[in-house]
């Protein structure tokens, strides 16, 4: 094999690709600008909506409890709710998002309490609807407090301490370090993103240097040259790999930069608020990822990019036209995404068997590395098995290129 020929093919394909608007668009422009914009846009919009739902006073309604106006009165006293006067058809009102949640009391609520009966208070809400969920949570907290007050009053009347019914306190505290939380949150998302970017970055170059070249009638010209088939495949493959890695690096770089800028802005803002309020206190943690973990992820991604590039090259080579190639590679992307999505599911952890499953092993390992956990034996299995798969895919590409019925498929 002659390295000069490989380089000559690669250099020509690179020049060719840089002059092709479609390749530039799909491997440079989209990953640098569109993907970060979309991801941050969606994330930003999502968190904004959640924040807005939290900030708004929950709209609630009390139905029934005609003899217990003190319930409505203490609810109103809290000032945390917007209370709507009772109206008929409250279930429909919840469905129509006019009210978030409804507290349903029996008409003789106070009388029943007095008589020692155990009346039932029901909270109506709309499962899955964000604002209804918040309203129901808040309403339930209020009702629990109200019940505690009832208990306290009863105990006091009988001369018993509150300890009788509450012998100890219960609290819940998060001990996960911030990067652990970030690792689990981002650990699922980052590999997913990397897989998508590696795949889409390779797609257009792979099609252009194979089916595209067949379609434009230059394949035969190239094959007349004395370059060996394997040299041509390697040169072209390197271009595809370049596309894959470039688009991933650009996108991650661009997103990292955006995250740092917005993070700095948000952080500065939070500190100013705290200082202005003149009081410390937990403002919640910022999810972080282990920086070394990111390096580890990149090391594992390299063989995956090789695998994708070789695979997409082979499939696109088989196609007669760019259209046909697109119709093969588009659906393949969904297939490739499945393991990444499975890896995001909670409860699936890396083990020796899963370490051999391509892509799924990457997403599971990413989750661990980004939260600072390093299972070296697994990582070694993942790296070397993926290298093996990648080498297999590349060998397949060379074999395909040597097949006359593939090259001259008409």
């Amino acid at each position: 094999m002659n390295g000069r020929n490989v380089f000559a093919v690669f250099a020509k394909e690179l020049k060719d690709a840089l002059r092709d608007r479609r390749t530039l668009f799909s491997t440079l422009i989209i990953p640098t600008f569109v993907i970060p914009l979309l991801s941050f846009g969606t994330l930003g919009l999502g968190s904004k909506m959640v924040a807005k739902a939290r900030d708004q006073k929950p709209v609630v309604m009390i139905v029934g409890g005609d003899d217990a106006p003190q319930v409505a009165a203490s609810l109103a006293k809290l000032g945390r709710f917007e209370i709507v006067p009772p109206r008929a058809g409250h279930e429909q009102l919840i469905a129509d998002k006019v009210v978030g949640a409804v507290l349903l009391l029996p008409a003789d609520f106070a009388a029943a309490l007095r008589l020692g009966e155990v009346p039932r208070a029901t909270i109506l809400h709309y499962e899955g609807e964000l604002r209804s969920g918040f309203a129901a949570d808040e309403l339930e907290r209020f009702v629990r407090e109200f019940r505690e007050q009832q208990i306290a009053a009863t105990l006091e009347a009988k001369g018993l301490p509150l300890r009788t019914v509450r012998p100890f306190e219960l609290a819940r505290r998060n001990v996960a370090p911030p990067e652990k939380v970030g690792g689990n949150l981002l650990g699922g998302f980052v590999p997913y993103l990397i897989i998508v970017l590696c795949f889409t970055g390779a797609m257009y170059p792979a099609i252009d240097v194979t089916a595209g070249e067949k379609e434009r009638g230059t394949m035969e010209t190239l094959l007349c040259s004395p370059a060996a088939r394997v040299e041509i495949v390697l040169g072209k493959f390197l271009l595809v790999l370049t596309g894959s890695l470039t688009s991933m690096a650009l996108s991650l770089g661009s997103m990292g930069a955006t995250a740092m800028v917005t993070g700095a802005l948000m952080h500065g803002g939070a500190e100013a608020t705290v200082a202005g309020a003149g009081a410390g206190g937990g403002s919640g943690y910022v999810p972080m990822i282990a920086p070394l973990g990111l390096l580890g992820v990149l090391a594992l991604v390299l063989p995956v990019a090789v695998l994708f590039s070789a695979l997409e090259f082979t499939i696109a080579l088989f196609a007669r036209s760019t259209k046909e190639a697109q119709s093969y590679l588009g659906p393949l992307m969904l297939v490739v995404l499945m393991p990444a999505i499975v890896g995001m599911l909670p409860g699936i952890d890396l083990n020796t068997t899963l370490a051999f499953v391509p892509l799924l092993n990457l997403s599971l390992a990413c989750k661990e590395m980004l939260s600072g956990v390093w299972h070296w034996p697994y990582l070694a299995i993942i790296f070397f098995s993926t290298c093996l798969y990648a080498a297999g895919a590349l060998a397949l590409a060379v074999r395909m290129f040597n097949r006359e019925d593939v090259i001259f498929r008409t």
Partner: protein, 247 residues
């Protein structure tokens, strides 16, 4: 020189079954000679020439080009061959100069040599006006000149032309024929396929008539005329082919 020895090529086609595109074809072409391969569409001309250029591997038989066997030393064969066909297009996003240089590099030429040869070829083929224009913006005639320069950059001893005048206007076609004769004058071994009878009369020293993948007859124009008792190339061709179909 070119020596085809019992070349055969079969294709397995899903719809048409087994296709015997080339069957037991043997011939020889000496340096300084133009060998014409004359046949109708689908006769097997392109397949024969692709076998010679090592784009396809023979199903049986072989060919030796400049002392190298197409089966065992395909790269050595390609180093000596210039292949020009209607199906060998140019890279549209490269300029004519870049296109020529790319093939110079693949042939292992050094950059100064590529530059020097490009300058000479451009002068010979009158390409200076469009040498730095992208190939997709060139006219058919300009493209053909660029393709010719591409096949000549490594100064091959053997030239293979597969219907090089297909789709060209009269002037461009004449220029190509002139160029084919130039190759002969420089002592190159030339094989030229066509379905145009008059082109054979104009440029070929020897003619092989191919039909249904078989070489029906070959010889100089005079020999074929004597054998068939016809004077005109078209009449010779029709007589040989109808005799074959009847047999």
């Amino acid at each position: 020189m070119i020596e085809a020895r019992h070349l055969s090529k079969t294709f397995a086609d899903r719809k048409r079954g087994t296709i015997h595109a080339v069957q037991d074809v043997s011939f020889q072409v000496e340096p300084g000679q133009i060998y014409g391969l004359l046949g109708a569409n689908g006769a097997g001309k392109t397949t024969t020439l692709r076998l010679l250029a090592t784009l396809l591997r023979p199903s049986s038989g072989t060919a030796v080009i400049g002392g190298h066997d197409v089966g065992t030393a395909p790269e050595a064969v390609r180093r000596q061959v210039g292949f020009l066909a209607a199906s060998t297009a140019l890279y549209g996003r490269l300029t004519a100069r870049e296109m020529i240089a790319y093939f110079g590099r693949l042939h292992g030429l050094a950059e100064p040599e590529i530059a020097q040869r490009t300058t000479r070829l451009a002068a010979e083929l009158e390409m200076d006006d469009f040498l730095d224009r992208r190939c997709d913006s060139l006219s058919t005639g300009m493209k053909q000149k660029t393709s010719i320069a591409r096949t000549l950059i490594h100064d091959p001893a053997v030239m293979i032309f597969d219907e090089p005048t297909l789709g060209l206007d009269v002037m461009a076609a004449r220029a190509v024929l002139r160029f084919v004769r130039d190759c002969r004058a420089r002592g190159k071994t030339v094989i030229y396929s066509t379905h145009v009878m008059s082109e054979v009369e104009k440029v070929c020293d020897r003619v092989g008539i191919i039909h249904g993948g078989r070489l029906l007859a070959e010889g100089t124009l005079a020999e074929l005329a004597a054998r068939t008792g016809q004077r005109d190339m078209e009449e010779i061709f029709v007589q040989l082919v109808t005799a074959e179909v009847a047999a």
